[in-house]
Symmetry: C2
Subunit: 286 residues, 2 copies
Amino acid sequence: MASREQAVETQFTNVIGTLNLLFAMRDHVPEAHLVKLGTMGEYGTPNIDIEEGFIEIEHKGRKDTLPFPKMPGSLYHLSKVHDSHNIQFACRVWGLRSTDLNQGVVYGIETDETAQDERLCTRFDYDEVFGTVLNRFCVQAVIGHPLTVYGKGGQTRGFLNIRDTLQCVELAVENPADAGEYRVFNQFTEMFSVGQLAELVQTAGAELGHEVEIEHLENPRVEAEEHHYNPTHTKLLDLGLQPSHLGDELVRSMLKAIERHRDRVVESAIDPVTHWNPERQPLQAG
Amino acid sequence: MASREQAVETQFTNVIGTLNLLFAMRDHVPEAHLVKLGTMGEYGTPNIDIEEGFIEIEHKGRKDTLPFPKMPGSLYHLSKVHDSHNIQFACRVWGLRSTDLNQGVVYGIETDETAQDERLCTRFDYDEVFGTVLNRFCVQAVIGHPLTVYGKGGQTRGFLNIRDTLQCVELAVENPADAGEYRVFNQFTEMFSVGQLAELVQTAGAELGHEVEIEHLENPRVEAEEHHYNPTHTKLLDLGLQPSHLGDELVRSMLKAIERHRDRVVESAIDPVTHWNPERQPLQAG
């Protein structure tokens, strides 16, 4: 988070906005089904398998199924954690119904619908804040910038194609939660490490004649660069999700689209400038 | 929570206020120790023993120590849950240090210091929102109002004397957290059910000549009226906390103090008027 002002704006907008929405539902449309876009980033990277929203815990001879503990890596992701807690309360105490889609990292530039006409293209982010890793690597490959792998590149996350995002939202809407039910779907289709994605882009880039270097930058974030990661993601598959898979062909099609707009790339937006621990103070080492 | 406006004000004040404080610490006094007053209400009443902030979870053959899952019963308590997540982030990522005091229900009307002079008396709440259960029952006993037990009265919580609250804060300040450490102390000394407290007040009241009835009202809250409750609370004892205990004598001294000010009791503030599920809609029954 770049500044106090941005952190406050982010948490205010998400937490208070969602709270107002919940009261509006309670007072005016208590039967409505809230489909909320959360994020896999709410969980962080615990050393146990991540479940879909709730986990059965056996402790000192007793058992309960409780919200999965959250340990996110940014104040943005924390705003979504706060939302999740408030929404769960509204379902539990007021009897509302909600599906929280904990989405992984999205990649891709088009759906069947937007592909019909260039004027339907959506925004494509490749900067350090809003740009997701595969989009960034593809832009870097096309403009001849070394791929910016942060640290060791072992950071592993769940990914999904933008086409699958829309399929998931549709499945949630068509199969609503019960009254009083707060359910969480982990919304991603495949897992990759940052290093694996860099190699994928390097290979696909070479096939199109790009010489792609991989650079391991000092990590500007505070995150584990090697860790366990094995989140459950069966609930959307059970509802009928047909996953798209990430491979050479998809990456090549992204690279070709970026080549067509290469002259519009803002090169100054590529390198990371925000250090998550702003001073790297000695006390952080402890 | 009585209204949307109050819920928004509560979450805004706590979440954004604490966030601003964390940035101020990060940028100006990163070595300072934040001692934060949270609440035992953050945990709710899970069916397993509550630990002090974190719990070791064994799951599918792997282990991790993670934040204890939170399932609070009100939007006020949720604001404290959000604070806890933000503070833990600031410690983990920025290297700040903090102690989160998850306080139980406070009772009592004086400390050694305030007892020196009536002008040092603090506010004494006995209404449905700010009044805690023992304080409410003592006022009810003195004015001849039946004790307002909500539902079955099996709601069990951790309690502590106002004298111990101050001792706990002092112990936390004198034994600061390490740099980068976020620690949680469960701050209470004894556990009682609402029904047990009603009987205690009835007995102590009889000794002072009050005929005290116990009434089981329809519960205006959404909460379990019978549940497991066995939270750990050893960390403050390990630091030297000397607990005061709740018994007949303490209750009689409270009753006598209230008798002296009986003419100031606002009787219309006694009965609960706020229904936590505002409409008791049919869908809540599901």
